[in-house]
């Protein structure tokens, strides 16, 4: 299928919108009417057609605009992309994985031709046609991870495995929900999850780490995570908090449907073959409340979920000020009818 890429912005005038088709494929993260942390991981296998699970590396109508936004972030702050020296093999693993998936699932837009180590990569939406030697970084205009993640939606962390732990040793992070690669680089799994409330106490991270240490080649896994963002801004980083933090005070009952966005991360984890590292893809999807309530099931369920949240999670996700405004505004979409199980629209 040929995707029509939108011309839009994630900053300043915020012209980002979802098409009707894209609204219905949104990965709504709540499979029931309440929410609590859990080790909500499932095999990352192909799912429903016309959902974000149709392909394992999803490319959508926001691709070109997201890549332009990433280039702006990197220009202002090159430390959003970092790799420790021992991660070079994992960088090549990442390049191979992303090129192979994009070329296989979107042949109209991407083509990969291999002749031994001599590879040719064509990216039509971004107007790129490069020939390079796999394994030789000097043949690419950027190091391999930066090269390919300037051409792939989502944030990417490459996690090294040693001493029975996972280490954040490389990444491209420009569309994050208030965390910083520059701060976390070199940390282990328990350290970088330190700030999350409640989940440590119920043993979520111990179990998740054990599970991930045994992640197998050929069996990627995924989970959904969520928060909410005022305005469709991809770069909600601690580094730029002064730019987006104050946005929270601009929400009113009149503009909440337009300004408030549900922000969902489709996180997928892949064992990389050559390096034995794990690629952690954090793909961010945004949808305004106005767009979201066009799906009746989601309009009913979201206010119920927001009402049921424990105060620690409300605080951690930065929802304290605007939760009541959202619940009031969403009330008219909840007629009290039961909702069907699962996340997909009825």
């Amino acid at each position: 299928m040929t995707i029509t890429f939108r011309n839009e912005t994630f900053r300043d005038d915020f012209t980002f919108r979802n098409s009707l088709y894209n609204i219905r494929r949104f990965p709504f993260p709540f499979d029931r009417d309440e929410y609590m942390y859990s080790v909500n991981m499932e095999p990352h296998v192909r799912g429903k057609k016309d959902s974000v699970f149709e392909n394992l590396i999803d490319v959508d109508e926001h691709y070109v605009a997201e890549m332009q936004d990433r280039a702006i972030v990197l220009k202002e702050d090159p430390l959003r992309c970092q790799a420790l020296p021992h991660m070079m093999t994992a960088q090549w693993d990442t390049l191979e994985l992303l090129m192979e998936h994009q070329a296989r699932d979107y042949p109209e837009h991407f083509t990969l031709t291999k002749n031994g180590d001599r590879w040719r990569w064509i990216n039509r939406p971004l107007g790129i046609d490069d020939t390079f030697t796999f394994g030789d970084p000097s043949t690419l205009p950027y190091p391999p991870m930066e090269y390919i993640t300037r051409q792939a939606q989502g944030d990417f962390c490459i996690v090294d495995q040693r001493d029975n732990n996972l280490w954040m040793d490389a990444g491209m992070v420009t569309t994050q929900a208030d965390w910083s690669l520059d701060f976390d680089i070199g940390m282990n799994f328990m350290e970088w999850h330190g700030p999350v409330p409640l989940a440590h106490q119920i043993g979520v991270f111990d179990r998740a780490l054990k599970f991930l240490l045994n992640l197998q080649q050929g069996k990627p896994t995924r989970r959904l995570n969520w928060t909410m963002t005022v305005n469709p801004r991809l770069d909600t980083s601690p580094e730029n908090y002064h730019k987006w933090g104050p946005d929270r005070t601009t929400v009113t009952p009149e503009n909440v449907g337009d300004k408030m966005h549900l922000r969902v991360e489709l996180q997928s984890l892949w064992r990389l073959p050559r390096s034995n590292a794990i690629l952690f893809v954090i793909r961010c999807y945004l949808i305004s409340l106005n767009e979201l309530v066009t799906v009746p099931k989601w309009g009913r369920r979201l206010p119920r979920v927001l009402k049921s949240l424990p105060p620690e999670i409300v605080d951690y996700k930065g929802l304290t000020r605007n939760r009541p405004i959202m619940i009031d505004w969403l009330a008219k979409y909840d007629d009290g009818a039961p909702t069907s199980a699962g996340i997909h629209p009825d």
Binding site: Q161, G218, K219
Partner: protein, 321 residues
Amino acid sequence: MSLNTDMPVRVADVTQVTDLVKRFRFERLDGHPMPFFSGGAHVVVSMNDNGLLRRNPYSLMSNPDDNSAYEISVLRVPNSRGGSIFMHKQVKPGDQLIVSQPVNLFAPDHRGRKHILFAGGIGITPFIAMMEQFSRDNIAFELHYAIRSRAHGAYWQQLLDRYGPRRIKIYVDEEKTTIPVAEIADNQPLGTHLYVCGPAGMIDGVLMTALKAGWPKENLHSERFLAPPAGLPFQVFLEKSNIHMTVGEHQSILEAAEAHGCDAPYLCRGGACGQCETAVSSCDGTLEHNDIYLSDEEKASGKKIMICVSRFKGQQLVLQL
């Protein structure tokens, strides 16, 4: 329920390496390339021995950058449970087997400035793939390889030819030469990592010597696959699957469960990875923990068992499986 990513393969070649070691080359039946892997990885090979399912882990020893085939080497162990005997006696070129995706529980630390490898006997196999990687990436390494005799030792001549005597040191029992572990451990630059694979006594000796010399334990790596030890047959009840079964003399609980159609999780089948950890509901007898995964406290608590290698003595064992 686990997603099945096992690969049916054809035995492309069988080579007699020494009187007790054979090398097997596997190609995929569907003609696709093998997945790439990292040095130190192993696969689990499934064999159909006259209706009896055998699954044994073997280190991959082919070049990790060569995705045309996988190679393993198998030592014939006379008193083994039968896997190595089956591979030696039954498996011929053209036969079909099932091979799992590669799993690496013995990966090199990529931060290492230098890597020192200690191999004993068939423990050489994971290092053959590792050395390919080190040499490709221009990373410093040296191998200290102990063999019984030059006739029995596998691959030592090829390795000497390939990497030269400065990087490959051979020690021969028959010639009364032994690895000077203390001397080697005593004199290494900061950032060196040490790896050992071989008989249990050798692994313990090398690790102990290095710790005594002041090495941080994060820089010490070992791979020991434990073959499930034999023992008396015993009764197990799998609660969730509602299966009563007898675990035979030369069978593990995991193998017995599989024979009864229970899809239990596993990875290494050698007591090391933790994947097959199973909760014990009740135990009218004594658990014989043979794994290296559970802590001493966990073993003492009697609430968990690694079903790939551990056994039981007593009336009845009930597992949450």
